[in-house]
């Protein structure tokens, strides 16, 4: 079964200069697309990847990353919605390029699918209620 997920990878200062991610392709048969990448002033690395492959390869790939000292998080941990502030208007829906924000037809509330989020941060900018927050 194919798996396709957006994940956030955090690299500590010690490993930030090592070639780690390229092996996901060469050894684990996974395809990746870099959504966002930067190195903080403290020389820690942050990388948001769209990772795709067979589920068995996917698991092994993640295991390899963890063993290499990379901290793995789902995007939904880094892009969050403050439920108290959200009024479920829907401004974000047509602007989200990843389809991670969608109207529930029954409740007419806005669902946020963290696993589809590509962390572009556009929703954070446009939300009139400042209900969306990106923690990087």
């Amino acid at each position: 079964m194919k798996v396709s997920k957006n994940i956030v990878l955090k690299f500590s200062k010690d490993i930030v200069d090592r070639p780690i991610v390229c092996r996901l392709a060469s050894q684990y048969n996974l395809e990746f697309n870099i959504v966002k990448a930067y190195i903080t002033p403290r020389e820690e690395g942050l990388l948001i990847l769209r990772l795709e492959g067979e589920s068995a390869d996917f698991e092994k790939g993640l295991e390899y990353l963890e063993k290499s000292g990379v901290l793995i998080q789902p995007v939904s941990k880094d892009v969050v919605r403050n439920e108290e502030l959200c009024t479920h208007c829907g401004v974000c829906v047509a602007l989200c390029p990843a389809g991670a924000l969608a109207v529930d037809e029954k409740t007419r509330k806005i669902n946020f699918f963290g696993d589809k989020c590509n962390a572009c941060g556009f929703c954070v900018t446009v939300c009139p209620m400042k209900a969306m927050e990106a923690k990087f």
Partner: protein, 401 residues
Amino acid sequence: MAKTIREINEKIKKGKAVVLTAEEMIDYVGKKGGKEASERVDVVTTGTFGPMCSSGMYLNIGHSKPKIKIGGGSCTLNDVPAYCGFAAVDIYLGCTQVSADDPKNSIHPGKFAYGGGHVIEDFVAGKDIRLKAISYGTDCYPRKRLETLINIKDVNEAVLFNPRNAYQNYNVAVNLSDKTIYTYMGVLKPGAANASYCSAGQLSPLLNDPYYRTMGIGTRIFLGGGVGYIVWHGTQHSPGVERGENGVPLSPAGSVAVMGDIKQMSAKWLRGTSMLGYGATLTVGIGMPIPILDEEMANFTAVKDEDIFAPIVDYGDAYPNAKPGNLGFVSYGRLKSGEIEVNGKKTPTASLSSYSKAREIAGILKEWIEKGEFLLGEATSPIPGPDSGIKFRPLTERPLE
């Protein structure tokens, strides 16, 4: 048999009134027909929760010792300027006002993170607000400066007074230009890549009483989580626009001016709002009860999203340059499906007004009436209808010489 508001109020007092939300009324009339619905149903409740820029509040803050005449001077609330052109300690804060320090659109698109609407939300939430006032001093009001915290529970009067709310229908905004634009209808991407609309449609108050038959000065409403009143027709009220066979206007038409004691309102239903690149505003929760006086009102309140049409307007050129015409009409049913067609191209839609909150408001108002806590207000003067001749006119500029 036609009913009167007085008769309905007697039923409400006895806890016998039959109240449905505008959504429930659609099903009811669909099953039983307008005639039976008019006999059985007494009140239909509506709701809307969207950004409404013509909103603000006035305060009487009480007199300091010694006294100051803020009237004619200047003042700010949390650094946002309020209007001081009234008597000594009466001030009015409009929701679109931003502080002098706000970069506005000098760094485009501006964030407008904190404006009058946000001050109103904080004030209603019970937070202390920083008041700074400067005046010129008189014999009876000698003080020239005042800096103090004020709180909603200490001021004399705190009144929400909104000159234009609850617009009856609105434009669907797209952008046909080749660059992204930042409008009061949200961010619009070039080439009509998205469309935004702003109405609760079938739940919206004035779309359920298209000719304003049951509303007027004195109509009691749900306002900002408390009780308020319609006090006038709204600015830009334009009842004479083209209407469909069901009487529903095909473009922005009527509006109402509303007011109410803000001390009994809630920050949940008065939310400071920031429109990227456009400005600050206030999202207001409004719900109106519509008495089902006769079969016509039963049928009006059963109006469906599929039967309410809004014009698609280009905000890239036509709107800012006041060019007439539109790109066609689309129903709220289609708009809510998430996709419409603009110039033959599929365009995803988004709403600025929260339908789920509108539904919640209609439900709360229904509960208030069922419990006998909320009686219908009898209007002393009607909202001007299509025959009034009132029109929304453009400005004709004349040189000053």
